[in-house]
């Protein structure tokens, strides 16, 4: 049996998440952060932020595993974009956010060289691709990346993770006033890879961030994107797509921290799961602090379970400390494949396998359509197609 958590029933494959089910034990505002790895206890796995993660498969990243290799970072920079390599301790680093768990702090402490990519002000540039290749099977590496969009920059950056090994990193997205940054992070790792990644986005006044995470490969991938606002008018859209196969653990933990008035956020993550032991976790935290009047936010997670033996956990948490907001909402739904849709398509002569593919492609379509870099969109469509063919084989 596929386990479906946090859903009352599964009529027609989708259910609305009932309000109030996801109120956290402690306020997100009290969440501990530090650059110092020793400030964090070694987690045992029962802590709230670790309870869904299979700790044994973390390659000891949480227990101070020393770096035995390095991840290769190659940047195909568009014209006008600056790429620098800076040492750990450089004053420019760490401005977008502070590590919120031990592995993020470990990565911040342990990396040797950071890559800083600067997108020029007042300019629209072509997409830049940053390819990060893991340290290799059995190796451990730590890394740091900063993507900085200067004032009124308009740019897209693709961060493409591939290869083997265990890798922990922090990625900063510094979006200056009026800048418009589109980020697509691909996690297309080899089957053995372990990747624990914290994204820290800081949005200036009237800044826009379009942040997409696509997780398709790896043994264990855990991504924690955090968005903070430094000025009014910030607008963040977080989109996620994931497709977990047998044995894979994919965990996404977006956190939007509304501490400034008149900002907007929209979070949409969709996942498909197939195969024995496929496990996805989505924890969506939104905190609207007392000062954040006029906030508009919505978060949504949907999971499509394609076979028995897969499990999707989905927990939206929405905390509101002021009533003076434009709107706030959340929804979560996890369901089985809808047999009525299948019947309808088959009743029009479409063979079952093709009908299944149509339905799954349809499930992801609204998110794929949002991906503004055509090469990435095509690659993603092909990857989903390959995933679907794999289950039929």
């Amino acid at each position: 049996m596929a386990a479906i958590s946090n859903t009352a029933d599964t009529q027609h494959g989708l259910t609305a998440h009932s309000h109030g089910a996801g109120v956290p034990v402690a306020s997100r505002a009290d969440h501990f952060t530090s650059f110092d790895v020793e400030a964090f206890e070694i987690p045992g796995g029962r802590e709230e932020i670790w309870r869904f993660t299979p700790m044994k498969r973390l390659a000891d990243l949480h227990k101070g595993a020393p770096a035995t290799g390095t991840a290769t970072v190659e940047v195909a920079a568009a014209e006008g974009v600056t790429v620098e390599k800076v040492a750990n301790g450089d004053a420019r680093l760490g401005v977008a956010g502070v590590p919120g768990d031990r592995i993020a702090a470990q990565a911040y402490t342990s990396f040797t060289e950071a890559t800083v990519v600067t997108l020029p002000k007042d300019t629209k540039v072509e997409p830049t691709t940053i390819t990060v290749t893991g340290p290799g099977a059995g190796q451990v590496a730590y890394g740091h990346l900063q993507v900085k969009a200067e004032m009124f920059a308009e740019a897209a950056v693709v961060v493409d993770h591939r290869g083997s090994g265990a890798y922990a990193d922090n990625i900063e997205f510094v979006v200056a006033d009026g800048a418009h940054l589109t980020v697509i992070v691909l996690n297309d790792w080899a089957d053995d890879a372990v990747h624990v990644s914290s994204h820290h986005a800081k949005l200036g006044r009237d800044a826009t961030l379009r942040h997409t995470v696509v997780t398709l490969g790896g043994d264990l991938v855990r991504v924690t994107p955090t968005v903070a606002y430094a000025g009014r008018g910030g607008d963040a859209e977080l989109v996620g797509l994931y497709f977990a196969d047998a044995g894979q653990h994919f965990e996404h933990r977006p956190f939007i921290d509304h501490a400034v008035a008149n900002c907007r956020s929209n979070v949409v993550y969709k996942g498909a799961l197939q195969g024995e032991g496929a496990h996805t976790v989505w924890i969506g935290d939104v905190l609207i602090r007392a000062a954040a009047e006029g906030t508009e936010t919505f978060e949504l997670n949907r999971n499509l379970i394609l076979t028995d033996g897969a499990r999707a956990d989905s927990v939206p948490n929405l905390e509101i400390e002021t009533g003076e907001i434009e709107g706030a909402g959340h929804a979560s739904a996890t369901g089985r494949f809808d047999d009525e849709q299948l019947f309808y398509l088959q009743a029009r002569g479409i063979p079952e396998k093709q009908a299944r593919r149509l339905v799954v492609r349809g499930f992801f379509q609204e998110l794929i359509a949002k991906i503004s870099v055509p090469e990435v969109r095509e690659r993603l469509e092909a990857a989903i197609e390959a995933e679907l063919q794999a289950v039929e084989a």
């Binding site: 009525e340 398509l345 009743a347 029009r348 479409i350 063979p351 079952e352 349809g362």
Partner: protein
């Protein structure tokens, strides 16, 4: 000359506890060129008959046979039945989010015709078929049935009927929920299909009003899981006047 032959069909559904027999021995033969109206009160099993023929997994065939031109329909998968020439216009068409109507229609036509229709010709064909049913061309880019009104869904069922050109069409309460204009447009669509070739129609309905637009050659009264009376169009007139009282149900068959 297509022939759909249903013999002594028994069908059960399994609800929470025990299987429940819905169809209790249906015999019916529909030949190309014939239109058969199946009329009956609510809960008599009319829709079960249509879904069982189409192969919905919810229904268990416990005994009997269904053949299309001698081929065993019950041995076929749902999509094989459609490709063999059976079509079910559903009472409640299903929404398929993210799949555009145009993609769906082309995929279905490719499957049923055995090859992808030439693009230029296909676009014209779909446009004309939509126009015939007063469907706004913008619907082609919308997700299948998503957010469609009841009437829009029914028009799209008949659109598919026209494009897929089955040998035998089963129309399950296609008239339900339609206003007068929509009923006329949809009925004209069915009549165009009938006129297009040697095809057979099984028209399932509770009310007689659609029979004013689509003339049946045969009328069958369906009650308690089987056909209890068969006749010509005059039987519909009798139901129009008397309702289903004679068959144990205090239900009218006329809307006037």
């Amino acid at each position: 000359m297509a022939t759909l032959e249903i013999k002594d069909l028994h069908v059960s559904v399994t609800s929470e506890d025990a299987p429940k027999e819905i169809l209790k021995g249906v015999d019916l033969t529909i030949k190309a060129g014939e239109t058969h109206a199946i009329m009956g009160p609510n809960g008599s099993g009319k829709s079960t008959l249509s879904y069982a023929i189409a192969g919905h997994p919810k229904y268990d065939i416990t005994s009997g046979t269904v053949t299309l031109d001698g081929e065993d329909v019950l041995e076929m998968s749902v999509d094989e039945r459609a490709r063999a020439g059976l079509f079910l216009a559903m009472q409640y068409p299903v929404e398929v989010p993210g799949v555009s109507m145009s993609n769906f229609l082309r995929t279905a036509a490719t499957a049923v015709r055995g090859e992808a229709p030439a693009l230029r010709h296909w676009v014209k064909e779909v446009k004309a078929a939509m126009s015939d049913l007063d469907i706004d061309p913008a619907f082609a880019e919308r997700s299948v049935n998503e957010g469609f009104s009841g009437g829009e869904k029914k028009r799209h069922e008949i659109l598919q009927l026209g494009l897929l050109q089955p040998k035998i069409a089963i129309l399950d309460e296609t008239d339900s929920g339609l206003d007068v204009d929509a009923l006329r447009v949809v009925s004209e669509g069915v009549n165009r299909y009938k006129a297009s070739g040697e095809v057979g129609v099984m028209l399932i309905t509770h009310y007689t009003r659609i029979l004013k637009y689509i003339s049946p050659d045969f009328v069958h009264v369906f009650a308690n899981g089987r056909i209890v009376e068969s006749g010509g169009p005059e039987l519909a007139n009798q139901l129009e006047a008397e309702g289903y009282v004679k068959y144990g149900k205090q239900e009218a068959a006329s809307t006037s």
